[in-house]
Amino acid sequence: MRHALRRLGFFAITLWACLTLNFILPRLMPGSPILDMMAKYRGHVTPRALHAIEAAFGIETHTSLFVQYWQYLGNTATGNFGISLTQSEPVSQVITGAVWWTLGLIGVTTVLAFVLGTLIGILGAWRRGGWLDGILPPVFVIATSIPFFWIGMLLILLVGKIHPSFPTSGAYSYGATPGLSWPFITDVLQHALLPGLAILITSIGGWILTMRNTMVTVLAEDYIRMARAKGLPGWRIMLDYAARNAMLPNLSGFAMSLGFVLSGAIVVEYLFSYQGVGYYLLQAVVNQDYALVQALFLLITVAVLVAILAADLLTAVLDPRTRTGG
């Protein structure tokens, strides 16, 4: 119980640190990025939107930093993130429009990579020294050090050669009407195929390696020898005895990686112009749309915090050894 409370306290502090970073960074940097932004957007957006920004950053009103900080915390707590200058709509609307695309593309691919990678890792460790075990680790050591965006570029190049009309950018075709119709769904799936494949190639190696290595360690345990001595069938030893125990660290890693789905979206969505969270974050950064930058950064951090909390809980539930008394 005390442990849980301490963890919660830590998350509260981290959240506060993230909020404060969000508040301090634009005010701390040399050359006053806020004034740059104001100058850039004067005449391009409605006076009301500009005024909202002025109020938020305390420019014309000359409110003290402390009051600004207090107002900022209050606004964030009530879900009032301001208005996005690039999209000319409330930040919360931009985010709700973008977040599902990211979760759909990268969330699903993360789950796939975990399941496939873990299975391959189990097989690799089980047939230790076999062809799978011989080929995979070196291949994936190299694969994990390849920059993701480069794999994406090569895929675009390859597909462009083989099948020039295959979609390589966007989440769906221009002019398609979103809805639950069959043509629209296939269109979305087609658009998701290349970015999904690129993520899969670069992320599966980590799962394979960690699963294989824990599995190798677990296979040396006495209870595995015991199971062999009892004459249990090989697949039962592999899945019920070894893999089940070796999975633990991987499972909590998986829970954490789900939290990093949003933060991992940036490069994928940039490369494939996929309109999710990462795409909007980059757009906002490039166009100095700071209200959107702040809200997206907060969202990404909160996602990670929740995932780590879930991973903690999961480990505590699944592995009695990690539970401390009291």
Binding site: F10, I13, T14, A17, C18, L21, L25, P26, L28, M29, P30, P33, R128, G129, P138, V141, I142, T144, S145, I146, P147, F148, F149, W150, M153, L154, I156, L157, G160, T210, N213, T214, V216, T217, A220, P249, S252, G253, F260, L262, S263, G264, I266, V267, Y270, L281, L282, V285, V286, Q288, V293, L296, F297, I300, T301, V304, L305, I308, T315
Partner: protein, 320 residues
């Protein structure tokens, strides 16, 4: 994730010899392992490219003096870019900045990890709580978005802010590992002995604790170097680097903007990416080899173990 670490058992008397032994250990690890050797060779080749690029590629990499989008030929081995620069010499010259970013940010990150990690463990008490809290927060806040947000507010594109941001956002994982290792050393006899001998704190930290953690420190360095190579290249690719600089990430940025893939200048996009991948792989191979040498469970089944058996103490540390 399971990180495996090796600590030398201080069998003989501790002191200056332990650092010599540590250096010898690193050298043995490189020589005796094929993966490590491959990594070291790749690194050496890139180092040569970075030191004497002018001797390998005679063309000025930044002169716009050739035909645009030429295919590979005897004059231009890899062809030319959309604005008429020689791609081959850009690749050769690009090694320098890429390697500088990797090594400098990797080294500085490692030093910061050591200060925050070993410092926290050694000083203990409130220092430990304070330093550890900062590290933990930075560990949890997603690094790449943080990088981008900081660069967004600080758009002066030069190397120093880029390296600075990489160091601040990238040290935390190593600091955690080093702290755990230093904590496990804290009660050891050889440190007690040094304290009883009346050695100064700085002596204990630099001559006793750090040498006995060499393998882990090297692993932390290699890990951050891989990460920084890729992170820096990605930032440059997205357009947050100096667009006039000569590095593989910047080349890819121009290749994408110059539509290298559409105009058929494949080598413009392939060569720098391959170099980044190889450099990352070199660090990763070295790192992997260290793990393998340290943990007999991961070694090939037929390897002779007696060579490492006696003087090693092996400990599996689960860093979650």
């Amino acid at each position: 994730m399971v990180a495996l670490q090796i600590t030398a058992e201080p069998a003989a008397g501790p002191g200056p010899t332990s650092s010599e032994r540590a250096a010898g250990r690193v050298w043995r690890a490189v020589r005796s392992n094929k993966k490590a050797l491959a990594g070291a060779v790749i690194l050496l080749v890139f180092a040569i490219m970075a030191v004497i690029p002018g001797l390998i590629a005679r063309d000025n990499p930044q002169a716009f003096s050739y035909g645009r989008s030429l295919g590979p030929s005897a004059q231009h081995w890899f062809g030319t870019t959309a604005s008429g620069q020689d791609i081959y010499s850009q690749v050769i010259w690009g090694a320098r900045e890429t390697l500088i970013i990797a090594l400098v940010s990797g080294l500085l990150s490692t030093v910061l990890s050591m200060i925050m990690g070993i410092g926290a463990a050694y000083l203990g008490g409130w220092w430990d709580h304070g330093l550890n809290l900062v590290t933990d927060i930075l560990l949890v806040i997603p690094t790449f978005p943080l990088l981008i947000v900081i660069i967004a507010y600080y758009p002066h594109s030069s190397l120093i802010p880029l390296i600075g941001v990489l160091v601040i956002t990238g040290y935390s994982y190593g600091a955690r590992q080093l702290r755990a290792e230093a904590l496990s050393l804290r009660g050891r006899d050889f440190l007690e002995a040094a304290r009883v001998r009346g050695e100064r704190r700085t002596y204990i930290i630099f001559a006793e604790i750090i040498p006995s953690m060499t393998s882990l420190i090297v692993a932390v360095f290699l890990g951050t170097a891989v990460y920084n190579v890729i992170a820096a290249a990605t930032l440059q690719f997205i357009g947050f680097g100096d667009p006039n600089s000569l590095s593989w990430g910047t080349m890819l940025y121009w290749a994408e903007n110059g539509e290298a893939l559409q105009t058929g200048q494949y080598l413009w996009a392939i060569a720098p990416g391959l170099c980044i991948a190889l450099l990352g792989a070199a660090f990763a191979l070295l790192n992997y080899a260290f793990d393998e040498v340290g943990n007999p469970a991961l070694q090939r089944v037929k390897v002779r173990r007696d060579r490492y058996a006696a003087p090693w103490r092996i400990r599996a540390n689960r860093a979650s």
